[in-house]
């Protein structure tokens, strides 16, 4: 049995591809034989090849003809597709490309398109005249009237709405009527989405629910009449996967219908009324340099000194941690065994300390000084409040952001959860504890027996137990702590596996739908949080479903392709519009598919196992603070995706062949399955792009921030300047004047914390125009502490963190995902070619001289 690289090396050898790293040669050799000594390649052919590729390079605006990735990308996406600045030029490029392709027919085609688009243009011209803001407020006032009615009338209204909804969802329509219905709904949605406010959002979700309900009703009642048992098996599987997504969609709408956006409550002026707080910083095997900044930041939190105690909970029992704790004047707790990992560690500390409240920070989550001021007010106002959570914020890129280059531009995976889901949960009093950056009241925590130890997601389970006892939880959506994101993709996946496994364990052992003490909405919110992690299997079903038709011609949906499109399209379009409106700031359209596709394979098995036997599984600590030194391709992680790519690619080729040469019936069905496969290939391509680990340049991650600073020069002059970014190792200053600052000059730089100024020794690292790079040297422990408190611990450190995130535009987002997918294949090709080249060299095949 040959391995894949060997197989491809064999192909390369027999096709005569001299250098497998050049995509050009692969394509050329598919059509043209390599020149032999006896019969050299004719002059006209190489000239024609050169000319053709020249025209293509020019027309497609390929900047690097050597790059396979760019060829692939430009075949599908125009160069101006992503950058906003060039956007206006798009139609021109497009028309030029279309003109090249169509030749003489171009003017006619253009005229036809122009006249066909006439009503749409008229419509959009009308749109600009509508005052959507006043329309939105009118809608709000209508809703206010409805909400002001007596209870019984509201019930009547809701009942009527439900009856109407069922009627709309179940009325059978012919294809033309369904088409009109779809168009009408789309037009209304396009109008409504321009209105500001939360009510239009609810209207859009209702539209989405109607479209989905119609599709679901039709799908279940009309399309499941399948032929053979095997078709029932695959068709049933697909339907189950779809039902899963419908449920998740509905629960998601419910969960994030109305984010509470809770504001902090001010504390009483009399500090004697403020409670005592224990700060827990649990650590197991993280290096001291990761834990230090967190301890320093915690020391800087504003709270009466006699009412706050900071504890390092060291499960690693390391002497250097103990020494550090003494030097930093914080407490140190170690236990003799490590049972129940982090939960056990916290529970042990709970027995030793006495504070009325416990604030927990993962050892790499640095709190800002205002953390307690922002959070504790709610505990004083609400006696039943047992836990308050704040967002987890990461100032370094996660593997997705680093490998795709989307950091601070496209909202990351966690953004949706902490930006919207937890805030939405808060409305239903079902925000749950996330293990860090949270405060818990000691009483309720002890009442439920401390942090839960039955499952590997002890945090969510603890919150569930407290909810069952009738306690409240709160969420404040203001970033009050920040940490490092997981370094590598494998680490990231490992962490998600743990969450998925743990949530499913809770679902099995302490099901939120059953048992005492929860409100209906709490049950639904918890259920969604847990079901959400079971997306692995359904995602794999979607990634392979079209193959059952393309490979075996199984009909797993009993419907014509056109009718299916008419039903499924409104479902997809409306849910995209609704989600884009609801989540646009926290998740861009089609990125959920990207994130899920990467994780699908890895969480499918653990969640299924946990569903069958929740006892299996252990806690894995996420490694942080490392450095990826070399660019590499994670072959191990991407193996399942390779297999899926190979399957989908084969399916795609079969589909193309079925269009033109063989078995050319059911063309529409073939096209639909081809589109589906193409979509799958794009998502898998993105997954592969994520698996290409790009090199990381800095050990300490820089945070962009403008803080006033004072630069003390050796000659006694003192300059007023401000920072551009900072890290634990150094900072970049903006200095307006042409000051001469040679490299390695010793300087002192001082930063302010409130009205206090702290200075740090540093040296000049580099100088570019107005920007001066500094790195710190010889910092004492006090200096390090002050540095953290002046930078990461500032109250305003993370206020503007999402300033550069781009608002979602579904079509732009689709093109972006497409581009990343193609980039993934570019990476794959390059890496594969390198491997093949190495293999060919190994086999000592003398390469023939490449064609000129």
């Amino acid at each position: 049995m040959m391995s894949l690289p060997e197989l491809l090396a064999w192909f390369a050898r027999h096709l005569g591809v001299e250098d497998p790293r050049q995509l050009r040669l692969w394509i050329l050799r598919l059509f043209v034989l390599p020149p032999t000594e006896a019969r050299p390649q004719p002059q006209w052919l190489s000239k024609a090849m050169l000319r053709t590729s020249g025209v293509l390079v020019r027309e497609l605006e390929i900047r690097q003809p050597q790059s396979a990735q760019e060829w692939l990308l430009r075949l599908f996406v125009l160069p101006s597709g992503i950058s906003k600045a060039k956007k206006e030029a798009t139609p021109w490029h497009l028309s030029r490309l279309v003109r090249t392709l169509l030749g003489g027919a171009y003017p006619h085609v253009r005229n036809v398109v122009f006249w066909l688009a006439w009503p749409l243009r008229k419509l959009y011209a009308r749109f600009d005249r509508i005052n959507f803001i006043s329309a939105g407020s009118k809608l709000e006032s209508v809703a206010d009237v409805a909400f002001a009615q007596p209870m019984w009338l509201r019930y009547v209204m809701v009942s009527i709405a439900v009856v109407l909804f069922i009627l709309v969802a179940t009325t059978p329509l012919q294809w033309f009527e369904q088409l009109m219905f779809m168009a009408l709904m789309w037009l209304m949605a396009m109008t409504i989405r321009r209105m500001p406010g939360n009510l239009p959002t609810l209207a859009l979700t209702t539209f989405s629910l109607i479209a989905t309900a119609r599709y679901a009703f039709w799908r279940v009642t009309q399309t499941m009449d399948l032929g053979s048992p095997i078709e029932y098996f695959f068709g049933g599987g697909l339907l189950m996967a779809e039902i899963y997504t419908w449920i998740i969609m509905m629960l998601g709408y419910l969960q994030s219908a109305w984010p509470l956006q809770r504001k902090p409550v001010p504390l009483p002026a009399d500090t004697s009324l403020w409670p005592t707080i224990d700060i827990y910083i649990p650590t197991y095997n993280e290096p001291l340099k990761v834990v230090k900044p967190t301890v320093f930041a915690a020391c800087g939190m504003d709270w009466p000194k006699e009412k706050i105690n900071i504890y390092i909970l060291d499960d690693g029992r390391r002497a250097e941690f103990k020494e550090f704790a003494e030097a930093a004047n914080v407490h140190y707790i170690a236990r003799t065994e490590n049972s129940h990992a982090k939960a056990g560690n916290l529970n042990h500390a709970l027995k030793v300390t006495k504070g009325e409240f416990i604030a927990i920070f993962d050892c790499d989550h640095m709190p800002v000084r205002s953390f307690l001021q922002m959070t504790m007010g709610w505990f004083l106002r609400d006696e039943k409040c047992a836990m308050l959570q704040t967002p987890h914020h990461f100032f370094s890129p996660d593997p997705f952001e680093r490998n795709l280059g989307t950091f601070r531009r496209v909202p990351n995976e966690g953004s949706l959860f902490y930006g919207l889901v937890q805030d939405g949960n808060d409305l239903w009093n079902s925000t749950f504890f996330c293990g860090s950056c949270a405060v818990i009241r000691r009483g309720p925590l002890e009442e439920v027996g401390g942090i839960a130890t039955e499952t590997v997601t002890e945090d969510a389970h603890t919150a569930l137990k407290m909810h069952r006892r009738g306690y409240n939880t709160s969420y404040i959506n203001i970033v009050q702590a920040a940490g490092l994101a997981t370094e590598s993709l494998s680490g990231h996946i490992g962490q998600r596996i743990r969450w998925a496994r743990g949530m499913v364990q809770i679902f099995r052992t302490d099901n939120p739908l059953l048992g005492k003490g929860l409100s209906l909405y709490q049950r639904l919110c918890y259920t969604n949080a847990m079901l959400h992690f079971m997306n692995g299997l359904p995602r794999l079903v979607f990634l392979t479903a079209p193959l059952t038709y393309l490979f075996f011609e199984f009909h797993i949906i009993n419907s014509g392709a056109y009718l299916l499109t008419l039903f499924v399209l409104p479902h997809i379009v409306q849910s995209t519009l609704a989600n884009s409106r609801m989540q646009g700031r926290y998740r861009h359209s089609f990125w959920a598919e990207v994130y899920e596709s990467v994780l699908a394979w890895y969480i499918a098995l653990p969640t299924t196992i946990a569903l069958i036997n929740p006892k299996l599984g252990k806690f894995n600590v996420t490694a942080k603070g490392g450095l990826i030194e070399h660019e590499y391709f994670d072959w191990f992680i991407s193996k399942p995706y390779m297999a899926l790519v190979l399957l989908n690619f084969t399916g795609f080729v079969i589909g193309i062949m079925r269009l033109f040469s063989w078995n050319t019936f059911e063309t529409a069905t073939v096209v639909m399955n081809l589109l589906w496969t193409a979509h799958n290939l794009i998502m898998l391509g993105t997954a592969i792009a994520v698996a290409s680990e790009s090199r990381q340049k800095r050990i300490s991650h820089r945070v962009p921030m403008r803080i006033p600073a004072t630069l003390y020069l050796a000659n006694g002059q003192t300059l007023q300047c401000h920072t551009q970014d900072y890290s634990t190792g150094g900072l970049d200053l903006h200095i307006d004047r042409e000051v001469v600052l040679p490299q390695d000059t010793r300087v002192k730089i001082s930063l302010n914390r409130g009205d206090r100024e702290y200075s740090f020794s540093a040296r000049i690292a580099n100088r570019r125009n107005d920007s001066v790079g500094l790195y710190f040297e010889k910092l004492s422990m006090d200096d390090e502490k002050h540095l953290i408190q002046c930078t990461f611990g500032r109250a305003d450190a993370w206020l503007e963190w999402n300033k550069h995130t781009i608002q979602d535009r579904p079509l732009d987002s689709l093109i972006e995902v497409l581009a990343y997918g193609l980039r993934g294949y570019g990476h794959l090709f390059r890496n594969l070619a390198d491997v093949i080249a190495a293999r060919m060299a190994e086999q000592r095949i003398a390469p023939r001289s490449p064609t000129p």
């Binding site: 004072t710 006694g716 003192t718 300059l719 007023q720 200095i735 002192k748 009205d755 100024e757």
Partner: protein, 251 residues
């Protein structure tokens, strides 16, 4: 006219320099400024390019019974500068006795000056205790007490506050830290102590130690021109801005 007395309980902490630079920054903001040197050492005149000996001025004319109104100079920045003058030893003692008998002598004299109502008078003084500084305090609408973040300034903080309290000016006094240098170990400790004692009275505009300040004097150039991005320039601009707001609120 709004009168500001610049005082300190310690010598050598940049009181005169601060007065001169404040005057120049206020003048740059189109304020009509009178810089009045009420210090027999005549140090402020150095900042205005005048010799400190054989100098005409307020005290000299007053003790000789002459009119002193035309002893003032005007410089290119538009600052009116009235020197103390260089009386001989006897005259100086006589002058001292004369003003000791009349605690509001300086106040009365300034009121005679014909400057616009919106003008600002900055009065430089010798270090406390001093009858000259006392006169300036009595005359002032606002007292700017200059301190340094060092042990001796802190030690003299209580006597200084006592003097101001007895003059009834405690509520019109604000403290400004000069020669601030966070790189010095004691700096933050002393500042913390002072903040604790003075609260809001300690202005948040710490004037940093910056060699550009003496260098600009040597280069005979105003600080804002000499070191536009210097930290001390920045701090003094902040102080000048604060003073203008304060004056606008008070008048």
């Amino acid at each position: 006219m709004f009168k500001i007395a610049v005082i300190s309980a310690n010598g050598g902490i940049g009181r005169t320099t601060l007065t001169a630079h404040l005057a120049s920054l206020l003048a740059k903001r189109s304020q009509s400024v009178l810089a009045l040197d009420f210090d027999p050492n005549n140090l402020l005149s150095l900042h205005f390019g005048l010799p400190s000996t054989e100098l005409d001025g307020l005290a000299l004319r007053a003790v000789r019974g002459q009119l002193w109104q035309d002893a003032a100079f005007s410089n290119a920045d538009g600052i009116t500068f009235l020197p103390f003058g260089a009386p001989n030893e006897n005259e100086r003692l006589n002058f001292g006795r004369q003003i000791s008998a009349d605690p509001h002598w300086l106040s009365d004299q300034i009121n005679k000056i014909n400057l616009p109502a919106a003008a600002i008078a900055l009065i430089d003084t010798p270090r406390l205790p001093s009858i000259y500084a006392q006169q300036a305090i009595n005359a002032a609408d606002l007292v700017l007490a200059v301190v340094a973040a060092d042990a001796s300034s802190y030690a003299k903080l209580s006597p200084l506050r006592e003097v101001l309290k007895q003059s009834g000016k405690a509520n019109d006094t604000f403290y400004v830290v000069n020669y601030a240098d966070a790189a010095r170990r004691l700096h933050n400790d002393i500042v913390t102590l002072m903040q604790h004692e003075l609260g809001d009275r300690l202005l948040p505009y710490f004037v940093h130690h910056d060699e550009a300040v003496p260098e600009s004097l040597a280069a005979n150039s105003s600080l804002a021109d000499y070191a536009p991005h210097g930290q001390a320039t920045h701090d003094l601009q902040g102080l000048a801005g604060w003073l203008l707001t304060r004056i606008a609120l008070k008048t």
